[in-house]
C-alpha cells in the first residue's frame, strides 16, 4: 500500500512541477509583453528643414509609417475643424473635441446630406441626426488603460522612441501591421480607436488612409517639412499602389501633410493621373493639449438637450 501511495505522490509532484514550469513560462511571456515600461523618450531637439534631413527621413519610412499608425500615443487632447470629401463624396465639415484620458469626445458633422452630432461619455455614444431629429445611444467598452498607455513626448519622425517603445531592434515593424495572408488577402491590424470618433478619426487617427496609401513604402516619399496652421508638418507625396483602392477613391496620386508632433493628418489632396483634384481634407483649426476644461459639462448639456428634443430610436440587430 505504501508503495502505491508513494507512487501516486511522486506522479502528483511531477504534475505540480509541470504546472509550475508552465506558469513560470507564462509569466516570462507576460513580462516580455509589458514593453511599454521600457520607454526612454528622447528630447525633441531636431529642427528638420535641410535637404539632408528629408533624405534621412526617407531612409526610415517604416518608422514614420508605424508612428503615424500609433498617433494616438502622441497626444491626450485635440480639437479642430476640417472640411473633407472623404466621408460621402461631397464636402463635409467636421468639428471635434477629444480628450483621450477622460474618454470623452464631441463631433459635429455637417454637409449637404448630413447633419449629425456624436457625443461620447461614460462609455456611451449618443448619435443625433439633426435632420430627422432622432438619436441612438450605444454602449462600448472603453479600451483606454491609464496604467498601460504611455504618451510620447517626442515627434513622429523619431526613430529612437519607436524602437524603445516596442523594444524591437532590426525588425520590420511595418510588416507587423499590414501583410498578405496565405490566401493572398491583405490583413490590416488596427489599433483600437481611443478617440472614440467615427468621422474625425479620418484626420486625428487616420489608420484607413495610412494603410491605404502608405503600406507599400516604395509608393511614397517624404518631400519636405512645411509650416501649416503655424505647426510643422511632414509632407508625404506618392502614387496609389493598390489599383482597386485608387479606383474606389478616385485617387491616383496624393499629397498628405501630417502634424510632425502628433501624426494627425491635417491636409490631404488626392488627384487623378490627369491632375484633377478629386478628394481633399483641409484643416482650418487645430489645437493640441488645449481641451476645454468644461468639455464634459458641454457634452452632458448637449446630450440632455438631445434627449429632451429628439426621438430615441434603437439600432436593431
Amino acid at each position: 500500500m505504501k508503495k502505491i501511495i508513494i507512487c501516486i505522490l511522486s506522479i502528483s509532484v511531477l504534475v505540480v512541477g509541470a504546472f509550475s514550469v508552465a506558469a513560470l513560462a507564462k509569466n516570462a511571456d507576460d513580462s516580455s509583453g509589458d514593453r511599454n515600461e521600457k520607454i526612454t523618450i528622447q528630447p525633441d531637439d531636431t529642427e528638420l528643414n535641410k535637404p539632408a534631413d528629408v533624405e534621412m527621413l526617407n531612409t526610415q519610412k517604416e518608422i514614420i509609417f508605424d508612428n503615424i499608425l500609433n498617433c494616438i500615443d502622441y497626444y491626450d487632447t485635440v480639437s479642430g475643424t476640417f472640411e473633407t470629401t472623404l466621408i460621402d463624396g461631397n464636402p463635409v465639415t467636421v468639428s471635434y473635441d477629444v480628450n483621450i484620458p477622460k474618454q470623452i469626445s464631441l463631433e459635429s458633422v455637417k454637409g449637404t446630406n448630413i447633419d449629425m452630432s456624436i457625443l461620447c461619455r461614460d462609455e456611451k455614444i449618443v448619435e443625433a441626426n439633426n435632420l430627422s431629429k432622432k438619436y441612438t445611444e450605444e454602449r462600448f467598452i472603453s479600451q483606454y488603460d491609464d496604467s498601460v498607455r504611455k504618451k510620447h513626448t517626442t515627434s513622429i519622425d523619431k526613430q529612437v522612441s519607436l524602437q524603445s517603445y516596442y523594444n524591437y531592434e532590426q525588425k520590420d515593424i511595418s510588416s507587423e501591421r499590414a501583410k498578405k495572408n496565405a490566401d493572398g488577402q491583405m490583413e490590416f491590424y488596427y489599433r483600437q480607436d481611443l478617440t472614440n470618433t467615427g468621422f474625425a478619426s479620418v484626420s486625428i487617427f487616420p489608420q484607413n488612409l495610412v494603410f491605404g496609401f502608405m503600406t507599400e513604402s516604395d509608393a511614397w516619399k517624404v518631400s519636405g517639412i512645411e509650416t501649416y496652421l503655424n505647426r510643422k508638418v511632414l509632407v508625404i507625396v506618392g502614387k496609389t499602389a493598390d489599383k482597386d483602392y485608387a479606383e474606389k477613391l478616385n485617387v491616383d496620386a496624393f499629397i498628405m501633410k501630417f502634424d510632425l508632433k502628433t501624426g494627425v493628418l491635417l491636409d490631404f489632396k488626392g488627384y487623378l493621373s490627369t491632375g484633377e483634384l478629386t478628394q481633399n481634407l483641409t484643416t482650418s483649426e487645430f489645437a493640441v493639449e488645449k481641451s476645454k476644461s468644461d468639455l464634459n459639462d458641454e457634452i452632458t448639456r448637449r446630450i440632455t438637450s438631445i434627449q429632451n428634443a429628439y426621438e430615441k430610436t434603437n439600432r436593431e440587430w
Partner: protein
Amino acid sequence: MKRILCCVLALVLFVAVFSFSASAATSTNFIIDNDSPDSACVTEHVGFDVYITGSSHYNRDCRRALTSNTAAWYSWENESKMLRSTNPISLTAGIYLNNTKFTDPDAHYYVQQRDGGYLFKRLNQNTARAGWTYVNYTINQNYATPGGYSVKGISVSTSGSGSGYTGADAISVSATTY
C-alpha cells in the same frame, strides 16, 4: 504514517487541480461567411437584401444594404463555438470587405455576447482598404449579466447616412480567456 501520506497526497492533488483551473486557457476561433451554409452558424439580416457574387468576395459572395437604411443590420453567430467566462475575454475581431461599392462612412460593428452586445468598431468602409481589418478588444463588461462575459459573433449596422452601400461579407472571431 498512512494518514500523513494521505494528507500530503490530498494537498498535492488539490494544488494540482487548482493550478490547472487557474492556468488553463480556453479559446475559440472561427470565420463565418455571409449566407453561411454551415449549420452551426447563423447569419441573419434585415435589409442587406442585395446578394452579390464575384471573385473578390470571401467565398465569392457578399451582401449589401443602402447606407441610408437606418434599420438595416447583418449578424454572424456561432453558438456552438461561443466562448464564455467569468474572466475578461481578449478578442481579435476580423472584418473582411473587398468591393469598391462599399462606401458607408461610419458602419457600426458590435461584438455579440450571449445576452447583449457592445459597439467595438466604427469603420469608414469608404476609405478602408480591401482585405481583413483586424481589431483587438477586451470584453470586461456585460451590462446584461455583470461578471459573465462571452462572445458568439459579430454584427454590423448601417450608419444611416451617405448615399452608397454598406457591405457584409465575412467576419472572424479569435478570442481567449483565462
